[in-house]
Amino acid sequence: MKSGGEVWTLAEMREGALHGSALELLAWGRDLADKRRARLASVVLASSVGEDDIERLAIHGADVIYIAEAPELRHFLVDSQTKTLRDMVRKYNPDIFIASATTQGRTVMPALYAALGTGLTADCTELDIDPMNGLLIQTRPAIGGNVMAEILTPNHRPQMCTVRPKSKRPLPPDDTRRAKIVRYSPASESAASLLARLSYKQESSVGAPIQEAEIIVAGGKGMKRAANFQLLRELATELGGSLGASRMAVDLGWVPYSAQVGLSGKSVTPRLYIACGISGAVQHIAGMSGAERVIAINTDPEAPIFNSANIGIVGDAMEVLPRLIAEIKQAKGGRNVS
């Protein structure tokens, strides 16, 4: 197979700093670029990019780093990003362009593929290169994870897709790696935006946003009342995780919508998902089936959640959780002494 055009990854900036997903995308892209014998690139749009961020991209796998700097690119504004990326794609002709399925990625990529008239596949869980023709094989779940579809973009370039945040770990850093830096000057009419950002307020919550959490402790109707969610928050805090919830718990007003896991909430891919008092409706399973490990705690031994769990505890979460929290505290405290 002859070597192909570059594999691009969108290095997302959040509030002036490189977001961790940029490194995860390099882990996704490295294998694809090697199979295609192509160069792997990070593309950064910002008002200015720090040297340390450039270094991080290089040591985590980027062969090339495209840097587009303009004052208008300071915040994520969909139109400036779309037009600038459109110009860059037309200039450099990458074969593949991957972004993380964050709110930024899920906004700019669909605007960009429409501007370019190519294909885009959302939320891929697997990416591979067809050894016969070098095409990108994109695998994604559909219909609540009931089916997996393999999708190709045979005749349009670039082949564009998004992958879920946290679905791959960054490659170990290699301090000897160097990347070629390409500075791109955005056209002023492309960087200009119709939008103006008026405010940005961080919200207080337990742990990372659930879409990016490594550990999620989630509760449902079986938690019986809002006050009992304190146990879940406590366990999440002890484990360094985030709080999640079923639709029922959100609709009852116990937890904000931003914590909702499932078809009408967020799809999550943590390393560990602990479902407490959640029966496991199809709509909920659809949102958490991508978890690496699942623990379910429920009083009903027939609850469908147990079919999606590695370990099931049949019992009352209000009895199990305090014991578990106490054990974890003890484990922490006990070893601190030694």
Binding site: V78, A114, P141, Q202, Q283, I295, I313
Partner: protein, 274 residues
């Protein structure tokens, strides 16, 4: 103000089948319903109409003829009128080809000041159509809209819910807003609404009406191809432990499972705390 709400008919989640040859969903015989997230888009539009006299809300969907049902439901909820974009030639469209049809309708209808959609459909789950539609119309796409703070004379201030934060943006109109569930609590349809829905005629627009050539719509106009469909079985061992039988055994199972996964390894954390 002219407002359009683009909605979608989706299969009821647990009854869906896939045609293994074409890789597309078999919609025959499967119960269809309005994408639940679209209720919030309809509600947002109807509230604006109630607050601003002279505003008209049109519900629009692309789909087979039976999709008329969700449009009637939208009128019953409070939309003024509706349009069904239906043509055999639209079949097999991916999100790009779909967005093209919707954009063509917007032009055909003489433009809208504001377009609402739900965050995403619960079947395809891509959320790609709203930003693509905005791009085709040359207007901004405001995704993950959780609130509309202000709207007047060609401008709007909206709140977006992004990872761990809220941002407010000033946008000119027209614009496409895709709203999240949190934005409102949709109303129930009333009996009088249902009666009205029976009297409103819903026009059907095809490719020819919208001036769309065959090669930009349907399967032919879709850059992506579904080449294989797999039915994954998520297999988890699912060992169960009963608290009522043996508390220690159950807690031990939890502890060792967490420990195996490295979730109880707090050594680094302690080092970081020092």
């Amino acid at each position: 103000m002219k407002i359009a709400v683009f909605i979608k008919q989706v299969p009821a989640v647990d009854t869906v089948k896939i045609d293994e040859d074409t890789g597309t969903m078999v919609r025959e015989g499967v119960e269809a319903e309005l994408n639940p997230l679209d209720l919030h888009a309809l509600e947002a539009a109807i509230r604006l109409r109630e607050a601003n006299s002279g505003t008209r809300v049109t519900a629009v969907t692309m789909g087979p003829l039976p999709a008329r049902k969700i449009l009637a439901g939208a009128i019953a909820m409070g939309c003024d009128d509706a349009a069904l974009l239906s043509d055999r030639k639209f079949a097999g469209a991916d999100t790009l080809a779909t967005a093209r049809v919707l954009a063509a309708y917007v032009k055909y209808a003489g433009g809208f000041d504001l377009i609402f959609t739900g965050e995403r459909a619960t079947d395809g789950e891509t959320g790609q159509v709203p930003p693509a539609l905005a791009e085709f119309l040359g207007c901004p796409a405001l995704t993950y809209v959780s609130g509309i703070d202000q709207i007047d004379s060609g401008k709007a201030v909206v709140e977006r819910s992004v990872e761990g934060a809220r941002e407010t943006l000033l946008t000119p109109l027209p614009a496409v807003f895709s709203v999240i569930k949190e934005i409102n609590k949709p109303r129930l349809t009333t009996l009088s609404g249902k009666m009205r829905a029976k009297t409103v005629e819903i026009p059907v627009c095809g490719a020819a009406d919208l001036g769309l050539e065959d090669d930009v719509i349907g399967l032919k106009g879709s850059p992506t191809r579904v080449t294989k469909v797999l039915y994954p079985k998520v297999i988890r061992s699912g060992s169960k432990y009963f608290m009522a039988e043996n508390v220690d055994k159950a807690m031990e199972a939890l502890r060792s499972y967490l420990s195996e996964g490295g979730f109880l390894d707090f050594a680094n954390e302690r080092a970081a705390a020092r």
